[in-house]
Symmetry: C2
């Protein structure tokens, strides 16, 4: 790698960082992309892993593999813990696994592109995170899958032993696109996928509750589509609770105002909290911790530092914020990469303009809403558009084919292939043998 | 489910237990199959998950799904901790997750089929297991995948920072079929799959060592095939060490006699240790802890209790032990199920006869050996036979197609799709920020 060209450091291999790297591939710069994980995950389909429809390997691809042919791009595994804007350096903790007692690592840059994303907001209750996981990583997705499937297994066990079917409630907090997708798919699992799997319990009696603090689901969508989405959710069997503020989360319940709702599995998809790296920069951030960038996505006072994707607070021409969706992150990543190249050519800076191609939210089997500006779609047609657009964007030809096959299979057979309860935690927590008395007898 | 028919309890959803359940499906018995996991995994292909070729969901299927149409079979998630042969009862610990302070559960049976399998033997050194994991479960496979891929990532990091490429050695202990498969595939990963992925290290310089305590690899195969396998391994690039007794395992090395071999990742595939349930029965077991069953696979003195699969020590007519392979477990499972049905019809007991259809071991890309009695095959033809036989046996039509696609893709592109480093453990262990001084600077 030539050392006499500018060094661009990209932090984060999500949509923003990845597309910035692609824009800079085989151009006269030297690029270092740093991520905590070795893979890019296709976040719009993460809920499919959480609900056992797809396997992690079908929606996640090694970052190195994607950038294999970008000979000027190196990929490093690591977590950037601080940025020194004044000195143009980032810092990584030492690798304690291979080099115990090592030193922190500083990497200097000519340009920096930050795309470390955002996660959910527990509104001052970090202790709720364990009880109600969000869905941002592959690990989140397999943990949610584990909890959901385990809820049915434990219900079957206790029905067989106690002779009564305890209620199985799934509570999804937050009715944005992810919450709506999760709720719709959970109903499908309970009513169709697992329908013939159990002998003692009836999985179809499981309830799925979608709780939204605001007055309507999909709050960022036009009002007619929100109402259509709510109708489609109810038709599928989701119980929708709007204006429902969660005041407490426990291991087996969710408190919504005066109502204590029993919950076997609680999932969180409310609020936005930007990656903590944003606040560490020492520049203005919004309430969610997003960096308030200039019109060219650069950090105020540091034209060589860009923020892209969910970590950036950007306003559109129409005064609305740029939404935290994959197409916006991709456009920002490409824009930042391009701006670096334009700088090198001596071209003036441009203003980032979000091009809204429309947004789609899937609700469940053959149910979705789509907002293409003047055209609003609902139901099966919206769902088909959603399916093809998402598969089309899936990185890697092979995965596109695999995912289409999985879906065709699931659609026609009502089966979901990845119903595995995996994980390090014991599937059933047990006591030491000597504590176990007396015995319950079952034949 | 009718209660006036005999109750058959099956412990373990591996090949033995599963095929026993299939044999008893929709027959005049009531069946309870109990497993610690909710899925059956196709163990012959587990090494493909460990080496990032296949995803867990492609080789594991929910047991409930397989037995959906067997209306007289119920599946329970749980770990059987003891068997009371005299009283015809098994015991499960209580479910502490859902019912804290609960009682242990006793389930009575008319017939019992035990198929809890075997794992590797660390020869009195249980502390080696953490350092050198074996490959028996999906969790083992993803943990091994994590360690292997992480070894390359850490080497790239330290090469970039220290400026030197540290050696990456993979040591596989035990040259049975699993060890041979792992070693062959690891070489392929280093030399072909990752060839263009790194910018600083050269993954092809990684070494793969296969260490065998005995005088030849694949000791249970005919001698000519052992030699062919060794030649094929060496041609692929595996360093084979025979007559090499491991005397110590450390976090970064393996001691073989006087030689201390540095090892980035050590994998264990030596020895056989049967599931501890065997020893708890209070009947004779062999050195590996396998139950010495009667000719009809029943436990001496308890004709209503059968042991199948790797937990059973069975001798063939020719005096050799029945090998611990999937076809043997399947045949035993079917035989035990059938024996129960014959009992009900008043037919006399028969003797279990292992029908050896031949054995195959794959070594790597287009490399394998096959022993079909008089016919011994090596190389590409053996590998093709192996591929089609294994895919043919894969449970579920959809998975067969998916696996064939993954393989065709991998064969022609040299890519392996599931190269994800996932898991709860931090990918890079880091110190607290205040301990980190001074700083190492990198540009």
């Amino acid at each position: 790698m030539a050392n006499n060209v500018p060094h661009v450091v990209i932090v984060g291999g999500g949509f923003g960082g990845l597309y910035a790297a692609k824009k800079l591939a085989n151009k006269p710069v030297r690029v270092t992309l740093i991520d905590r994980k070795n893979y890019h995950n296709f976040q719009p389909l993460l809920y499919q892993v959480a609900t056992a429809g797809l396997s992690p390997g079908e929606i996640a691809v090694p970052i190195r593999g994607i950038l294999r042919k970008a000979r000027n791009v190196e990929v490093l595994l690591g977590e950037v813990t601080s940025v020194n804007l004044a000195q143009s350096k980032i810092q990584l903790p030492p690798d304690e696994l291979d080099h115990p007692g090592g030193h922190p690592i500083e990497i200097s840059y000519d340009y920096l592109i930050l795309g470390t994303g955002a996660s959910h907001n527990y509104f001052g209750h970090p202790e709720w995170e364990m009880l109600a996981p969000g869905l941002k990583t592959i690990e989140d997705a397999t943990e949610i899958r584990r909890r959901v499937l385990l809820a049915f297994e434990l219900a079957e066990r206790s029905a067989r032993i106690e002779g009564i079917q305890e209620p199985i409630n799934f509570v999804v907090v937050g009715a944005g696109p992810t919450g709506v997708e999760l709720a719709g798919t959970l109903v499908e699992i309970a009513r169709r996928v697992l329908a013939s799997d159990f002998r003692t319990i009836n999985p179809a009696r499981a309830r799925v509750l979608l709780v939204e603090a605001g007055p309507r689901v999909l709050a960022t969508y036009p009002e007619d589509l929100s109402h259509s989405a709510e109708r489609q959710l109810k038709k599928l069997g989701v119980e929708v609770i709007v204006n429902g503020m969660v005041t407490d989360v426990g291991p087996d319940h969710v408190q919504i105002g005066a109502d204590k709702i029993p919950s076997a599995v609680t999932l969180w998809s409310a609020g936005v909290a930007a990656s903590p790296l944003g606040k560490k920069l020492g520049v203005p951030v919004d309430r969610a911790g997003r960096v308030q960038v200039e019109a060219d996505l650069s950090v105020p006072g540091y034209p060589n530092v860009f923020v892209v994707g969910d970590l950036a607070a950007v306003t559109q021409k129409n005064g609305k914020p740029v939404p935290g969706v994959a197409p916006a992150a991709i456009q920002m990543g490409k824009f930042a990469g391009n701006t670096v190249l334009n700088d090198l050519k001596g071209k003036p800076r441009e203003r980032f303009d979000y091009f809204d191609k429309g947004t789609l939210a899937t609700i469940g089997r053959a149910a979705a809403v789509a907002d293409f500006g003047k055209v609003h779609l609902s139901g099966f047609i919206a769902w088909l558009s959603w399916l093809f657009i998402h598969v089309f964007f899936l990185i890697g030809f092979k995965n596109r084919i695999l995912v289409l096959m999985e879906w065709a299979w699931a659609y026609f057979t009502f089966q979901r292939g990845a119903r595995l309860i995996t994980g390090n935690s014991n599937s059933i927590v047990t006591k030491a043998a000597d504590e176990m008395e007396p015995v319950r007898k079952v034949s």
